[in-house]
């Protein structure tokens, strides 16, 4: 209105069969029917009140790494993303075209990590991530989901795990890792299906598939700390939940139920999960909510809290500190999502001699890695956009001049790796347990040969 328009160059077109092919099957009637069904039956007070209360002030923008990294392009601000999706949908009462639904999926599935930092910047506390997840739900119900992400959901649905791992492969992997770990710690075992254990340990499916050494690490840690633990041989061992991010809440519920019921079946006292953020979120928040539980039936502890407990109780002693300069990526789902920021730093400081905190924003205000919320799981087609959308993280890491970035979350691990590569930072990523393996003391009587 009077002033020159902000220049918004057209965004690169990304071809993704999950969007392009599936959109060909959409009809106008189906779109209207599904949108109105989701809004009428699956949303209530929050949806309506958030949309009616937002005064379009734009203060949420500065929270979002997508906005900041894309040269403050308004199309990436949280309210901008809601405008391009829900405002249009509501204005036209659901009567939108298939191409528009594809755009909604691009925005909601690949350009928002659901990190919820915007809710900390909005003066009203509007849950913008929730609004965009409603858009994801609509897209999913219309069959429009990025293909790679949908494949993991298909895997969840068919195998109860994200990576098409079969039961015999799972057990084989555990036995292999048990053998490997016994070469370091003689008492290392991975007890399968033990009833009444103190700890039920669960992992995300990529661990047995491509990161099996992390399971071996845990076997050693558990043995040294003398933890009474178990893992299930049956479905429910995978605590990851990509259905949650696709919008397939039914499969999300099934997967979380399987996970919790596995722990209940084995009468474990608590569930400890490996270093993953979204798995924690799914197990403690999103899954229980869908299943009608106020909180999970078996207490769920994230690895960060578990390591903190092991170190402060003296069950694990630190023999020598890690010398290389390290910094940390504070995962959204366990810091903003669980308040574990201080414990995480305490664990790192116990293990590392040269910890360099990232420059502001830190703790709950930390920038998302850009990979979470299912975005990295949308696969290679969307990698360029994802890496471009987080230059602020690259700047933050570079400023620390550290060699290693500690990432106690699988998505962060891969996401930061991509940022390091994309912006040529010359750093490496490590999980907490990888460092713990190097610094922890193995009592003489447990050392193998």
């Amino acid at each position: 209105m009077g002033l020159p328009a902000h220049i918004m160059p057209p965004l690169p077109v990304v071809s993704d069969p999950g969007l392009d092919e599936n959109a060909k099957n959409l009809t106008q009637d189906r779109i209207v029917e599904v949108i109105n069904r989701v809004i009428d039956w699956e949303t209530a007070a929050r949806f309506r009140v958030y949309l009616n209360t937002c005064v379009h002030c734009g203060l949420c923008s500065d929270a979002c790494h997508w906005f900041l990294s894309n040269d403050r392009d308004p199309r990436f601000s949280p309210v901008g993303k809601v405008k391009q999706t829900l405002w249009e949908i509501l204005k036209r009462k659901g009567r939108v075209e298939p191409d528009f639904v594809k755009e909604c999926s691009r925005i909601a599935h690949t350009e928002c990590n659901g990190c919820r930092k915007c809710s900390m910047y909005c003066p009203f506390g509007v849950d913008i991530a929730y609004l965009l997840f409603v858009v994801r739900r609509i897209c999913y119900e219309l069959g429009i989901v990025p293909q790679f992400l949908q494949d993991t959901v298909n895997s969840h649905s068919a195998t109860m795990n994200q990576m098409w791992v079969k039961q015999d492969e799972w057990i084989d992997t555990l036995q292999w890792q048990e053998d490997e770990s016994r070469e370091e710690v003689t008492t290392a075992r991975i007890p399968l299906d033990k009833e009444g254990a103190d700890v039920f340990y669960s992992v995300i499916a990529p661990e047995p598939k491509i990161l099996a050494q992390l399971i071996g690490n845990m076997a050693q840690i558990m043995a040294i700390a003398r933890i009474d633990w178990t893992m299930p041989s049956f479905d429910g061992w995978d605590n990851s939940n990509l259905a949650m991010f696709a919008g397939d809440f039914e499969v999300m519920g099934r997967v979380e139920r399987a996970h919790h019921e596995a722990a209940l079946r084995l009468k474990a006292k608590r569930i400890v999960m490996g270093e993953c953020g979204h798995a924690f979120r799914g197990a403690v928040y999103d899954g229980p909510r869908w299943l009608g539980w106020r909180q999970p039936p078996v207490p769920v502890i994230h690895a960060v809290e578990f390591y903190h407990e092991l170190i402060t109780s003296g069950r694990i002693k630190i023999a020598r500190k890690f010398e290389e300069p390290v910094t940390v990526q504070e995962p959204c789902n366990i810091v903003r999502g669980r308040g574990l920021g201080i414990k995480l730093r305490e664990v790192i400081q116990a293990m590392c001699a040269d910890f360099r905190p990232p420059p502001d924003p830190q703790f709950e205000h930390n920038y998302c890695c850009g990979a979470g919320g299912g975005v990295i799981n949308c696969g290679p087609p969307w990698k360029t956009s994802r890496v471009k959308g987080n230059s602020v993280k690259a700047e933050q890491l570079a400023a620390t001049k550290a060699h290693i970035v500690i990432t106690p979350c699988h998505n962060c691990h891969s996401g930061i790796e991509d940022i390091i590569g994309g912006y040529k930072l010359g750093m490496h990523v490590k999980f907490l347990c990888e460092i713990l393996m190097q610094v922890m003391e193995i009592p003489d009587e447990l050392k193998a040969s």
Partner: protein, 215 residues
């Protein structure tokens, strides 16, 4: 005409405002039952904690980062309530019509505070134009709402200083005030009521459920 607006119109505006806000509140509370998480998660302590951090200027990170908007927004909202409630003319009319009366602002203070509201409204207008991320999400309704809120203050100021025909300006002032009151429950101006609930809910979810801070 004057007796029409100063009588029935003000009555109508008050009834619509109070009735409308009540309706919105009840409707929200009922709808919140359908939203499975709202009532189970709500926590008085954590909700209040968050609310206080967002009602005190500069108590939250973004309020400090955007200090210019914080200062103007607080000044705007405080005066938005102070002026109509404590203006001598309003207090006198209220006492004459319904009985109760309370303290008043001095004429000079009222003038300055009104100017503050008008300048703040101008700031919001310029902000909408100048910041691309705000302009992107701005449409006609945003300008209209800003005008609806600014109009009673502009017309009240003009009327009081008798720059144009007094009675005409007074009629316009009362109409604009009535329009604003009636618009509040049915537009984004209802953030007056809803903000408390959205903030306390977010504070509860972040604080009681997630053990984290949301400011």
């Amino acid at each position: 005409m004057y007796s029409l607006v100063s009588g029935p119109l003000i009555w109508t505006a008050c009834i619509v405002f109070i009735g409308g806000m009540t309706y919105q509140l009840v409707s929200m509370l009922k709808s919140a039952k359908k939203d499975k998480v709202v009532y189970p998660y709500m926590s008085f302590k954590y909700g209040l904690r968050s609310l206080l951090h967002w009602l005190v200027p500069f108590a939250s990170k973004n309020m400090r980062a955007r200090y210019e908007t914080t200062i103007v927004a607080f000044a705007f909202h405080i005066c938005l309530f102070l002026v109509p409630i404590f203006l001598t003319a309003h207090v006198v009319m209220f006492a004459f019509a319904w009985g109760p009366k309370w303290g008043t602002l001095s004429e000079g203070a009222a003038d300055w505070l009104t100017v503050l509201v008008i300048l703040a409204a101008a700031f919001f207008l310029v902000r909408r134009w100048m910041l691309p991320e705000v302009r992107f999400v701005t449409s006609r309704s945003d300008y209209i709402l800003l005008a609806v809120v600014a109009a009673p203050f502009v017309t009240g100021f003009v009327a009081h200083h008798q720059w144009f025909d007094y009675e005409t300006m007074m009629i316009i002032h009362v109409i604009s005030g009535a329009v604003m009151l009636m618009a509040i429950p049915f537009t984004r101006l209802s953030h007056m009521l809803f903000f408390v609930f959205t903030r306390t809910y977010m504070g509860s979810e972040f604080g009681a459920v997630r053990n984290a801070k949301d400011w």
